[in-house]
Amino acid sequence: MTAALTIQQLHKSFGQVKALDGLDLTVEAGQVAGFLGPNGAGKSTTIRIILGLLGADSGYVDVLGLHPWYDAVELHRRLAYVPGDVSLWPNLTGGEAIDLLSRLRGGASKARRAELLERFELDPTKKGRTYSKGNRQKVALVAALAADVELLVLDEPTSGLDPLMETVFQECIAEVKAAGRSVLLSSHILAEVEKLCDTVTIIRAGRAVQSGTLAELRHLTRTAIAVSLDGDPVRLAALPGVHDLRADGGTDGTVTFDVDHDELASVVRELGGLGVRSLTSAPPSLEQLFLRQYGDELVGVES
């Protein structure tokens, strides 16, 4: 598989502040890559370097086979961008802003524009200054999605959108993917990333702390299990890979615990000998993954 975007060992500082500290990031062609991280982790800085708006201090960046700083114009014909905080020209209408951005990029299909306006329920005749945050976001989304480009770079594109519009957005991204185009999606909304993304990169303090497919990432985390047993659950606690064992204290003797992915099979075998009356297991959510990643790091920092 070829990569639409490859970043290796990217460094960027603003004066004393290190924004990126050896970041690695890849978007495979035709895939949707999630880009997760808390505020200030360096997501927007990375995206601005990908767009050639900021220059990297060091590191390798290749976008669609081009260098974002030196080949900016050529590159931008082939990608579209939605900023995290859309600022529109106050005296232009939304429709004018969409047309302007499309024309500056080299044109877009009128039919596609009309269809997107309809789907996002956006009134193109209002002036930029009168739009709410969600509607400004829609203007940028329509302009980007109407473009016939190979790569979409989206910086928290759904911030400010209502749940209905989020659904429309997710449909649109699914269509983009079906058409074989690539997407870099920076987001806070884990459910959205879980639903849309093939791969996920988690960034913290300017470097990637975790990346891979969702399935791969799930390997790194734990499955939550709630079980009620005839036998004595105490010995479970001694098994390798079992964490946070708690008896609920109810009469049915339900216990809950988390199991490392690698030890899941052996733990289940052990449970078999204890007389399982009921069992529920929850796969690790991205949220747990995310929180655990940071939780661990935080514990590490504190200790």
């Binding site: 708006l53 220059g55 600022s87 232009l92 004018e96 302007l100 500056l104 002036k127």
Partner: protein, 532 residues
């Protein structure tokens, strides 16, 4: 009184936010007065020298740029300062007050910060009242500093305080005007522009009124910029004209109070209208965007300059008449080696060129605000190169500046024709005005270079305009060495008579402008986008 809850807190907050800006404004105005008070006595040390100066000031052209001419018969230092300096201190005082009020009212609403403030325990009218109180504080500072500066030159205390008080109250009038315009428009920029248009109108009215009659006529009295000079300080002091700014301020504040009760937070009184669903074909390029963004501003400047130019041009014949009636005055002009009418047209051309340089700076500085608001980011994320972006914008600025030079030159020429000059004057004045185009280009180049190299301090480009203005109009008055004027890009063009225009300085200025622009363009291409 709950309408005004928390006004005191807001005033303290505003003082904190403006702790650098306001002292600079107030201090600069005070220093301007101090400089005049200390420099003029050394330049014009004897009564005879001052009388020569007085004869020079007794022409419509000079009157338009100075004052009503009280005390010309016995031109003391005080009379001289009141007649020649007060106007040029009143205009910055008005500007300070306008920017201050708009910054703390409409600009806050536009950015949405006012919403945050108003959601707290803050009265409906607390913010505008706080802005006005801040304006009172700043203008009191101007009044005190200018009065003390005059007294430091051994001028009479009462008259000095009259001038200071007049300046401060003039500032307050325009602060009140700005609270009204801030109610009308949704944009801070249009609110300031509207208030600045009132300053422009006041400037024009005083110029026309004072030029048509010694001491001014009814037109002068309509202009708040004239009232301080109408106190006749150091000649025959009267205090009652100070009632005019007090009354006008009260009326304007009352009007703003009524207007603000009729609108929502963030909204203007003029409702926002729906616009086009599709962009016009012209809005397809960075140049088209630059033109569209500045369309209203260009039209406003064009109309304003043309009207002012027409009015000034129509005064040209009274200059010639005055010279014919007063051989002494002709003597003075001939001593300067200039035909008086030519001298008048030359001053006009320089004045308009400097106004247009100010337009050019605001236009280039919009590149910076486009960058800061993220618009540039959106545009540069499309297939637009940085070079194309900046050159399109600067190209538009240059083109618009040349158009404005043409409009001003045409206005002065046509004005002169209406007052009896023959038609050839139109072409002459046009060429004379256009001769300043290279100087305006240098100003654009300086702003562009600053924008590229040090975007955070782009606004320092104003210093070039301020410098050129000061040495263009006061260099001669203060008899400063010629080198100072030659440092200004506007010091190399002698517009009238046309035969005095030489090509070399113009070519050199254009080359300097080109080098500066290229430097700005290259450094913009090399630097990070600065969104702070």
């Amino acid at each position: 009184m709950t309408n005004f809850t928390a006004t005191g807190d807001l005033v303290r907050f505003a003082l904190r936010r403006d702790r650098v800006k306001l002292p600079i404004w107030v201090g600069a105005i005070g220093l301007g007065m101090l400089y005049a008070v200390s420099a003029l006595p050394t330049v014009y040390s004897t009564p005879e020298q001052r009388q020569v100066r007085a004869r020079l000031m007794d022409s419509p052209a000079a009157t338009m740029m100075s004052g009503p001419g009280y005390g010309l018969d016995n031109y003391t230092l005080g009379a001289m300062i009141t007649n020649e300096m007060v106007l040029w201190l009143a205009v910055p005082t008005a500007m300070m007050s306008i920017f201050l009020v708009v910054r703390h009212t409409r600009a806050e609403e536009e950015t949405g910060r006012a919403e945050l403030i108003r959601s707290a325990v803050v009265g409906r009218h607390a913010a505008p009242l706080a802005a006005l109180i801040l304006a009172v504080i700043a203008n009191a500072g101007v009044a005190l500093l200018t009065a003390l500066a005059m007294m430091s030159g051994d001028l009479a205390a009462g008259d000095s305080f009259a001038v200071g008080l007049g300046l401060g109250l003039t500032g307050l009038v325009f602060a009140a005007v700005a609270t009204v315009t801030a109610q009308l428009t949704e944009h801070a920029r249009s609110a300031s522009s509207l208030a600045m248009a009132v300053v422009g109108a006041a400037f024009l009215l005083r110029a026309l009124g004072d030029a048509s009659q010694r001491g001014g006529n009814i037109l002068s009295w309509l202009s708040p910029l004239a009232w301080t000079q109408q106190l006749r300080p150091f000649v025959d002091l009267r205090w009652w004209p100070l009632l005019l700014p007090v009354a006008v301020t009260a009326a304007a504040v009352g009007a703003a109070y009524l207007l603000s009760g009729r609108r929502d937070v963030g909204a203007g009184l003029l409702p926002a209208r729906l616009g086009r669903a599709n962009a016009a074909p012209s809005l397809s390029t960075p140049f088209g965007l630059a033109a569209r963004q500045q369309r209203a501003s260009l039209i406003g400047w064009g109309i304003g300059l043309f009207v002012f130019a027409l009015a000034s041009g129509s005064l040209s014949d009274s200059v010639s008449e005055a010279v014919a009636e007063n051989p002494d005055m002709g003597e003075v002009f001939r001593a300067n080696g200039q035909d008086p009418t030519d001298g008048f047209f030359g001053v006009m051309a320089l004045f308009f060129a400097l106004m247009i340089a100010a337009f050019a700076v605001t236009s280039v500085l919009r590149l910076r605000s486009e960058e800061r608001t993220g618009h540039t980011e959106a545009a540069l994320a499309t297939a637009v190169s940085r070079r194309r972006w900046i050159l399109s914008w600067l190209g538009y600025t240059a083109l618009a500046s040349v158009v404005l030079l043409l409009v001003s030159g045409l206005g002065v020429g046509l004005g002169a024709v209406t007052s009896g000059s023959d038609g050839t004057v139109v072409a002459e004045v046009l060429v004379a005005t256009l001769a300043f185009a290279p100087a305006v280009l240098v100003v654009i180049g300086v702003a562009a270079a600053l924008f590229g190299l040090r975007p955070g301090v782009s606004s320092w480009a104003w210093l070039v305009v301020a410098y050129a203005f000061f040495f263009g109009f006061f260099g001669a008055l203060l008899s400063l060495p010629d080198g100072f004027a030659k440092l200004s890009p506007f010091g190399h063009t002698t517009a009238m008579p046309l035969s005095s225009i030489t090509a070399l300085p113009l070519v050199v200025l254009t080359a300097i402008a080109a080098v500066l622009t290229v430097a700005g363009g290259i450094s913009f291409r090399r630097r990070d986008l600065d969104l702070s």
